[in-house]
Symmetry: none
């Protein structure tokens, strides 16, 4: 290790002694408050009070408010991150299934709230942005590319198609519409998007 100074100064706490009770109370409190007051009005003080926990207990285990909310976030959406897409042989249908689900998730108030909090936060916090991208965005993206790849192998997509671009052409517009609230995220919209994208990728 090049730099061990910080390690010696700031002794990290023993995770074996960590109170699971406190951890859950904090994440629950944070999740509740996120819903009630939103991310920007969410305070460490309020989380501590709601969780009946000392502020130090939060700071002992999380470096920042963003980190706490990140754990709330992964408790919500982390479970399914990177799961492979269904492969029924019908590429369009499989993509529609998956992106309809994505659209539905964005429509759910709780996910919407937390995701917006994150979207906001990663604008300022590059490290957090990297964490989110690596652990959530990239795995999902890879799963989409894998399905597109198997579709290409089956001759449904041009051999020279850029699958990275293709995946972004699917996620991008949905994300854009949600982000800027420029229109409703209906299944019909998703279907048309998938169809048009696949049309552009045909052999």
């Amino acid at each position: 290790m090049a730099d061990n100074t910080a390690e010696q100064t700031r002794r990290s706490p023993d995770p074996r002694r960590r109170s699971q009770r406190a951890r859950n109370a904090i994440l629950d409190a944070a999740a509740e408050l996120l819903g009630e007051v939103g991310y920007s009005k969410l305070t460490m003080e309020a989380i501590a009070a709601r969780a009946r926990v000392g502020k130090q207990t939060i700071y002992r285990w999380w470096p920042s408010k963003a980190a706490v909310v990140f754990d709330v976030f992964t408790r919500l959406t982390g479970a399914t991150a990177g799961a492979p897409l269904p492969d029924t042989g019908d590429l369009a249908a499989d993509l529609k299934t998956v992106f309809r689900a994505t659209a539905d998730e964005f429509t759910d108030p709780e996910t919407d709230r937390t995701t917006r909090a994150f979207t906001a936060e990663i604008q300022h916090d590059e490290e957090l942005a990297r964490a989110v991208t690596e652990r959530l965005v990239e795995p999902n993206n890879r799963a989409v590319r894998d399905r597109l790849s198997s579709g290409r192998a089956a001759g449904q997509i041009a051999p020279e198609a850029d699958l990275e671009l293709a995946a972004e052409m699917l996620s991008g517009p949905i994300n854009h519409r949600w982000l800027l609230r420029t229109g409703p995220l209906t299944h019909e919209y998703v279907d048309r998007l998938v169809d048009t994208v696949l049309r552009g990728l045909r052999p």
Copy 2:
């Protein structure tokens, strides 16, 4: 547009008496500080101090930090908002020209900073989101749709194509890549995107 600002909802001060000197000093100070410390560490107090202005003068004309930065933002990008796209007859070339410029803008550090500040802020502030959408996003979107429409009239796009969707398929992926920093916004990337989208829209 005579008055392109966020100030329309404020209660009663007489805009005729407004000090133009103070207004400019505030926006300049905010722009500078935004570059120096970033949005989340930008404070009203610092803006006031830098602009040699009373805090009250800021609060008199803008309801929040976000509103101030919004005006900084519109001063930067608002000028060209809604300008019609070039129409050389070559739809692909024209779209590439425009979206290459958009990609370049996102790459510029100052625009990047301000735009990220905004993207973050509109997640929490619906009213601000509406203002941004109406005055910046929607006009630009309309300009793209208009160009697509003239391309459709020229037979370069299928008559039944959904131009709203088409516009989002162009902006969405670019925005997505910038937002999540999943890849570089090169001209080459833009070109491939435009080509693939237009392929999907062919008659």
Copy 3:
């Protein structure tokens, strides 16, 4: 006296041009507000608003809040300041008459309020203190001394008595009791005080 106000030191504006309407409106407003919110919460802004007068109009003629209230004060109590005491030949009776009236005045809520405001103010403002003493306290004191003097001439007081001290022995305790709210200012109290003081001054 032509001008019995605090305004004499103010340098330049031409008193001939002074709006009597504004002057009265300001003093009325100040008097009303003094009763409603008390001295320390009385603001120039509120006086100006209530009097429907520009703040500058107040500052043009009075240097401070204290000066305005001083004029309110003299309008109230200035009229009778320095008036000679009755002289019926019965010194004790005459003093009782006068100091009972003084006690009653202190008991009156409006006078109480204004006098307290003044007492507070003259602690910080030496110039104001001098003005109050010269124009209000000293004239009244002199009137008391004059009556004591005529009593001494009539043999009711020892020839060597210090009348300055005597006057203070009358005003002092009454003032003290009012100031510190250590007891009620009844006529009976005043009578006992006068009797005891005169007993100490007997030939």
Copy 4:
């Protein structure tokens, strides 16, 4: 319901945890500033800055500027409050000793400043007035009355004399003279006052 006192609603911090360091720094800073800028220009902000203390730490323990200065005041004069008067058998001499000391105290610039600040403040703040009266004025008054009482027992004062009134006849004029700055507080003045008062109280 029956027990609806103010003390139950007032959520007060735990005095055991109070930092004595902070308390002293605050009182020292307030005392210094009081001397430098005077009461009315004394600000909580300046006290906090000088004491290198957070403003909240002041507000946590004192409700107002007046309360802080009250503690400064009691640190100065509170030590001797209520101490019994000397009893040498010579009533006049004992009273002169004590009131000469009082006069000297009023003459001391620091006591003068603080006492004036208080006199001003208790005009607006009844609660503070009560505190001052109970803790400082009344104890001193009682001590004087006790000495007068022992003098009465020794036959130096008429048995029917009102000792409350007598005490006020001593404190009142001294206070009055100091308050209105109508004359110097010399030992000679005090002596004459004591003599005249005792003359009025003789059997």
